[in-house]
């Protein structure tokens, strides 16, 4: 039974952590998205949506079926 998490989950998460450091919008105080959201805030709001999509994709593609099976095994030996 393989218990590990697929390497793409680790790489994707690290990539998102890197994308969180949006130095490109750091000093931009002028661009307003839809005239209401400063771009620095809009980027991170979008980042939250991307994070949700990322974990949604992980749930579909890299769901750890082995963990579910392990939990269902009938042993209770603390």
């Amino acid at each position: 039974m393989k218990q590990g998490i697929h390497w793409t989950v680790w790489v994707g998460t690290l990539l998102l952590i890197a994308l969180h450091q949006d130095v490109w919008f750091w000093d931009d105080h002028q661009t307003m998205i839809f005239g209401i959201l400063p771009v620095g805030l809009a980027y991170h709001a979008a980042f939250s949506i991307v994070a949700a999509l990322w974990w949604g994709a992980v749930m579909v593609v890299a769901w750890p079926h082995h963990l579910e099976a392990m939990a269902e095994e009938d042993t209770n030996n603390p």
Binding site: G4, H20, D27, H29, I36, L41, S48, I49, V58, P78
Partner: protein, 570 residues
Amino acid sequence: MTPLIVLSCYLALLLGLGILSSRSFRGTSKDYFVASHSIGPFLLLMSVFGTTMTAFALVGSTGKAFERGIGVYGLMASISGLIHAAVFFLIGMRLWVFGKKYGYVTQIQYFRARFESSRIGYLLFPILVLLVIPYLLIGIIGAGKTLLPVTAGAFPAWFPNPATPQWSGGIPVWLTGLVICGVVLTYVFMGGSRGAAWANTFQTLVFMVMGIVAFVLIAKNLGGLQNASKVTIKVTEEGQVVQPYRWDNAQKQLVENNPPKVIGKLVFEGEKPVSGTYSPDPLLSRTVTEVELNAKNPKTGEITSFRREYGIPAWMFATYLFIPLSVGMFPHLFQHWLTAKSARAFKLTVIAHPLCILVVWVPCVLIGIWATGILPPLDPSKVSAVLGQVVKSIIESPVLSGFLTAGVLAAIMSSLDSQFLCLGTMFTNDIVLHRKAKGAYSDKQIIFIARIFIVVIVALTYLVSLVAPQNVFDLAVWCFSGFGALFPLIFAALYWKRATKAGAYACIFAALASWFYYFKMSGYGKEMVLGPGIMPVAVCFVISSLALVIVSLLTSPPSENTLRKFFPDR
């Protein structure tokens, strides 16, 4: 009086929910501690989200945005959405599997088994308890401070409050703390973890909805979103900090200040701003802008100046990501994970958590930056009042004030209940029952012991809250830092077969020593960064990780039996 009636109705509703949840109680200790692993996806999402979001989610986020600007969302919220979800999936779900399979109800039970050491539990227990207690105090004192101004004038004869005459007649902090503790104790006492999960779900929905309602009404009264976005303070070419608009109480609308009202100035060192550069819209970017603001004392009329750093230093932004890792070591969150019905119940929590953060935090951050153009400058000790003050001056609805305060109390209580329950669970299972043979106590006796412990913990915490320093809020980030410094322990326990008992001890001692070193250096709990803005938790994390890895590699690996139990794929 109206807000008080709304709040009383809310608390009565919560008690009713607690009583209702106790009807589903199955009478077993497993049901009391982990709801017999019966909580489905939606309740799990709401209870986990409610537990991780404290009063800071509504009040603190608005106040921090008022202090530093939009960068607060990236600093604290968007990274938490990613990291929390990662921890729920990579740590929480795995711990749920071991908990369900081997019958653990506390973190310490897992660590004792994984590191083949009973003593590690006695070492971890006081550390975890001491890190949770300030977190509890923040909730109890925070609730009292929230209610005092909202109820000002309600009972002038009973609570004259000469120390703060502007809030004379308001419900005093000690009484709110007593009521809050009583309500939380009742539903946790009766319903255990199921009661906490039900109450958390209700309260999380309340504070999410109230945040949105406040945002919509404030934006509407400011003349719409586009108009509202113009009101934030500016820095002129001459280096003056100005408010271009003001809120006219008589006309109930925004009015342009002509000329803009000067409220402070850039701080210069020679001809250059002391922060190296500055932003003309200091709240709309993360550029660090150091200013000196003028505040008027409402009692004496005296003008005083204080410094403020708008924006976020780059190193602080980069190293803050170690703070949300703390959720991996929260003992109360461990217990919530254990309530899940199945591994699949985690899916919704993992996916929707970043979206829930978005829904709560973006409106609060926007209200915070708009407030800079409406309210006078406030020193850091008063920024937690920003949301309440904006609601009071812009919306002027006692009913909404009551509902919004209920939302803040909901956010507070949805964390308090889990923390009280988890401390009672830990005392019962990790200390009282640990050395006893299985079957030494009946289920009924175990529940009785847990309930007694919960009552004692609530009473003690309440008493401590009466004498604790009122600036206990500064301790929050230190609590998170402590848990964050211990994160390598849980991560290595789950993912690194070579992590040994000695390595675990080294990790705990290194985390403790490095954390205490910086805690002392900060003056026991004040805000502190290292060098260019590095969060101390980042250094503690590196030190505890190194200690764990080096000592583990120098000592014998865990036994075959333990490895088979926790790493069945080898």
